[in-house]
Structures are given as structure tokens and as C-alpha cells.
Symmetry: C2
Subunit: 328 residues, 2 copies
């Protein structure tokens, strides 16, 4: 798929905005910067601990808008339904979307529904496309990243991917692992409102933290060093990863982001995120655990290193090979 | 599907903008009116005489923006690909999208690609979502329609639906029936630029002319009378409809629209559309044939009548029963 995008899609549609490869495109209409982003959701199964395709479809697009510093305003929703989908399931998904939209104060203002024959779809696919408004003057892109910037992470890693996989494979753990799916816009906007200078934002979806860091290091032309000891991973997730042969650094999240900020803003930024902790509890009552996980260490052609718990370093590569399909 | 939309989707997401049920939502950001619309395309077959899923996905969304009088600016594109889709087919579809986007001067600025397992999709589904800008001060909605308004139609009816059906069913006619798929924005904007007052616009997609007229008559609270003799239908399309038991009034088009305008603007509006005729030739070299097909005859609770060629009237109902599936 990466190949498809690089070899067919980007060369065909090439333009300045698309070429930035940000989570959302930033356009200017009448001197007002707007953000515009789209995602289709094909997650399997439709319902999983901590969420469902409906809430995921709202949160995912809202989060892509937030990652360029936009306040999400409007969503379109388009359904592709497979003949035979039960009305109860559809109703439950629509209710979940409604609730997620209310939580993030985004309005669903236009939509479309198509039905395909039985066997030509998979119950339901949902596309959401969002428009957000950028009200501040900051420019948030990987190109702004500078040596010395610290990297803020808003919580523990790996729960969404492992939650999906556990349901799909019928794995049982002592405690149910819940997806971290949640909206991120409010936290990002609070950081901006507090006067934190945000150089770059990225949500840690497909490919996880490792892929996000590698992409940013490459575009910014820097070397990034993160500390394994600082990266929160729930013990159940760590255990499941070991069992299944996954590295939590590469597992998809749906409510996690990193922010590159100047070192002097680190304490204030952490305080802002901590103020959301009481609110951002998951189904197991766990709070988020925002933390500083690393720093931009020098100019380079793009390299990500991790310092492990005994003090040695290893390189964190882009993921090669197959990722988990249909996790969002 | 009509039931799904009315009973599940609209009540759940209810808000003022969605409730207007226009082809595109109109929003205001910083005193600038913008149009926003989404469509997923699941047409089968992917390629048909006169177009393919790629050009259809661009034209369809561009046309929905045009139907609220907007100039289309930006599109997002999201692909759902079934495992095993050939790269050649994908490349051909992407090229067709690129060409259609260039023709309508719309930029594809953000996108997404998902892959589903073999048997869980149907080669390719495409969502396009568009943003347009409304640069004039006209308000174009069914509520503006008044008694005395005439109804302008930009060309002959029924070709898209019959072209799709012919390929699907392996029907052969003396001349190949080609889809009328084409972008409509330039024509609509030319009408506005010429100072024509446009009360209401509607493209004649699913449900065809009959459904569009019924919806407008109902919202506007008027009776509409159209003249059968004035409605252009190609003889091959008429023949195919008779053979297959379809009424061309209900067959889907992808490059046809109606405009409700004051009677005194009729001649000028026709002249504007005629100026596009040389350009808007289809694959068979046929020109479009813009015409006045009827008039708003009185206030009513919503009724559409057709005067047939021998002078008697019959009522044109909403389509009950099944429509052709997957025509767009």
C-alpha cells in the first residue's frame, strides 16, 4: 500500500498541498487557514473493547485535523453498507458516531449511503471527511522541528492494535485490553492556548510511534533519540506483544500523539496534559500518562535511536513487512 | 435505503444544515459561504461507455457542489481496494480521476487508501468529498421556487443508467449508448455570471428527473407541469427503456441538471447553455440539447404532472420499488 501511494497516487495527483503528506491538508480561503482530511474505516471487528467503527470514524478524522492544529468543525459521513446488515448494528454504529461527534463538538452536516450486494462488502465501511479551522498563527509541520526539541507523548502505547487483534484471534488476557481510541483536539488546542510553541504533531496510528518518528526525522533532517524507560506500555499490552511477536513501538494507537516542542516549554506542556487526566479515563479506569519520551539530538539525514533500560542504543527502523490489516 | 436515511441517519445526526437535504451542505466560515459534499462510488462495472468509476467520482462530487452554486475548489479521495486488484486497472482509474480533476480545475489535496481482504470488497470503491466556494449572493434552494418559474434542462435523459445496464446485462444496440457523465460546474457558474437568477438547481442522478421534480415540488409547496414533447431522449435510449420496462424520467443521469429560473430569464439562460454545446459533445459526437421542459403552475402541496404528446395530463409519482443498484 505504501508502494501504491508513492508510485501511483502521489505522482498522479501531485500538487503542493498533497506533497506535504501531512495528516490533513492546509488550505487558505479568504485569508483563513482551513484543514481538510479524509479517512475510510474498514476496521474488523466492528465492535471492540473501548470503541467501535462509528466512534473510531469520528475520532480518527477529528484527530487528523487536530494534528495540524485545527479546531474540528464539520464532518461528512459516507456509508457503504453490505446487503443484509442488521438494522440494530447499523443503529448502534450511528448512535456511537453521534455521541463521538457531540463529545468533540463537531457537526455532521452532509452524507451519503450506498448499498452493495451481499459478498461485495463487509457489513459496513465508513468514510468521514473533516473540515477544521486554524485560529492561531503557528505553522505545525515536521520542517519546523529543531535540534533540542523535546518529544511529548500523551499516554501509553499499543492498546488499540492489541485490542483489535485480541478480539479477532479470540485471545483472552487477565484484564481486557481496551483500545485507546479518543479525540485529541481538545488537548492539542489547550496546548496552543497555553502558549506552547508546537513545532510538529503526529498521531500514532498505523505503524505506531516508530513510523511517526522515522517519517518526521526524515523530513526534518534530524536524529531523534528516545528513552525506552520513559515510554509507557501497560503490562498486559507488553505481555501480549511478547506472546505475539509484536513491538509496541510499531503497534497502532487511536488516541495517542506526539508533539515536538522547545525544551523550555516541556514542564508547562506536561502540566496542560496532566489537567486532562481526570477526564481521560478509559473503560478500565486507567488514566492517561503524558510524558517526555525523547529529544531531537542532532542534524542528520533522518535517524531514530532508542536508549534501552541498560543504557545502550539501537536503531528504530521504519516497519518493513506486513502490518496488521484492517485495524482502522 | 431511503428508509434508512429517513429513519436512522437524519434523526440521529439532526442539525439545521443536514436537514436541508441539499446535494451539498452550505456553511459559513469567516463570512465566506462554502459548500461541502461527499459521495462514495461503488459503480459496477468499473468501466462503461462514456466513463469509469474514476471520472464519475470526480464529476459526481463536483456536480453536487455546483448544485448549490459553488465553484469547486478541492477534493479529498479515499480508496477502498480489494486485495488482488490489478495495478493496471488502478492506474487507469487514477489517471481518469486526474484528467477529470484537471478538466474541472479542482485540486485533489488529501487522501487515504485502505485494503480489504479478497471477497470483502469489490475491486475498488472510491469516496470523494469536495469543498467549493460560493462567490455570489444568490440563495439556491427549493424554497426559493415560485409560481411561474420555468424549468431548464441541459440535455437528453437516461443515458447513464441505460449505458451501465447495457454493459452489465450484455445488451447490444445498433449504436453504443454512452453515459452522459460530465462536469456541470462551468455551465452553472456561467448562468450565474450572466446574471440569471437561479432559484433552485438539482442534478438528475439516482431517481432521475421524476424524483428531482417531486422532491422540489414537495419542499417548495408547488405544482409542476412538464411537457413530454419537450423532454429530449435519444431514440436508442427510448428503445432500450421500452424493451427493459424503464421510464426515462426515472433513469439516472450523471451530467444532467435542472434549473428553476424566472420566465423572463429563459431565453438568455438557454443562450448561455447553447454556447457550451460545441464543447459538450459526447463520444458519439452528439451535442447536448438544452431546453425548457416545464413550469411551476401553482401553489400546492407538491405535485408533478406531465402533459403528453396528445395533450392529456398524468401524474408523475416518486419512484416506488427498486431502483437500479450500483449505478454510481
Amino acid at each position: 500500500m505504501h508502494q501504491l501511494i508513492e508510485q501511483v497516487i502521489i505522482p498522479s495527483f501531485a500538487n503542493e498541498t498533497l506533497n506535504t503528506r501531512q495528516d490533513a491538508a492546509v488550505i487558505e480561503i479568504n485569508n483563513q487557514r482551513l484543514a481538510f482530511t479524509t479517512d475510510s474505516f474498514v476496521v474488523h471487528p466492528l465492535f471492540f473493547p473501548g470503541g467501535d467503527i462509528g466512534s473510531l470514524a469520528v475520532n480518527g478524522t477529528v484527530n487528523d485535523l487536530a494534528m495540524v492544529g485545527a479546531q474540528p468543525l464539520y464532518l461528512s459521513v459516507s456509508f457503504i453498507l453490505e446487503e443484509g446488515l442488521s438494522l440494530d448494528i447499523f443503529q448502534a454504529i450511528v448512535s456511537s458516531m453521534k455521541e463521538a461527534a457531540q463529545q468533540t463538538k463537531v457537526e455532521i452536516i452532509t452524507g451519503d449511503t450506498k448499498v452493495v450486494n451481499h459478498g461485495k462488502g463487509d457489513s459496513i465501511f465508513i468514510n468521514t471527511t473533516g473540515i477544521g479551522i486554524i485560529k492561531h498563527s503557528q505553522t505545525i509541520t515536521p520542517k519546523q522541528v529543531q535540534v533540542g526539541d523535546v518529544i511529548l507523548l500523551n499516554g501509553d502505547l499499543g492498546r488499540h492494535g492489541i485490542a483489535i487483534l485480541a478480539v479477532r484471534e479470540g485471545l483472552e488476557f487477565e484484564t481486557t485490553i481496551t483500545s485507546d481510541s479518543m479525540p485529541l483536539a481538545e488537548m492539542v488546542l489547550a496546548l496552543i492556548e497555553a502558549g506552547i510553541q508546537i513545532r510538529c504533531l503526529r498521531d500514532l496510528t498505523r505503524g505506531g510511534l516508530a513510523s511517526a518518528l522515522n517519517e518526521i526525522a526524515l523530513v526534518a533532517g534530524v536524529e531523534i533519540t528516545i528513552a525506552e524507560a520513559n515510554i509507557p506500555v501497560q503490562s498486559e499490552v507488553q505481555g501480549a506483544c511478547e506472546l505475539l511477536g509484536f513491538d509496541p513501538l510499531y503497534v497502532a494507537n487511536e488516541g495517542r500523539f506526539i508533539a515536538f516542542i522547545p525544551e523550555q516549554d516541556a514542564e508547562r506542556a506536561l502540566a496542560v496534559l496532566h489537567s486532562f487526566q481526570a477526564k481521560n479515563k478509559d473503560f478500565n479506569g486507567n488514566h492517561e500518562n503524558p510524558c517526555i519520551i525523547g529529544q531531537v539530538t542532532k542534524n542528520s539525514t533522518g535517524l531514530v535511536k532508542i536508549r534501552n533500560k541498560i543504557g545502550t542504543h539501537r536503531i528504530v527502523d521504519m516497519l518493513s513487512g506486513e502490518q496488521l490489516p484492517r485495524i482502522c
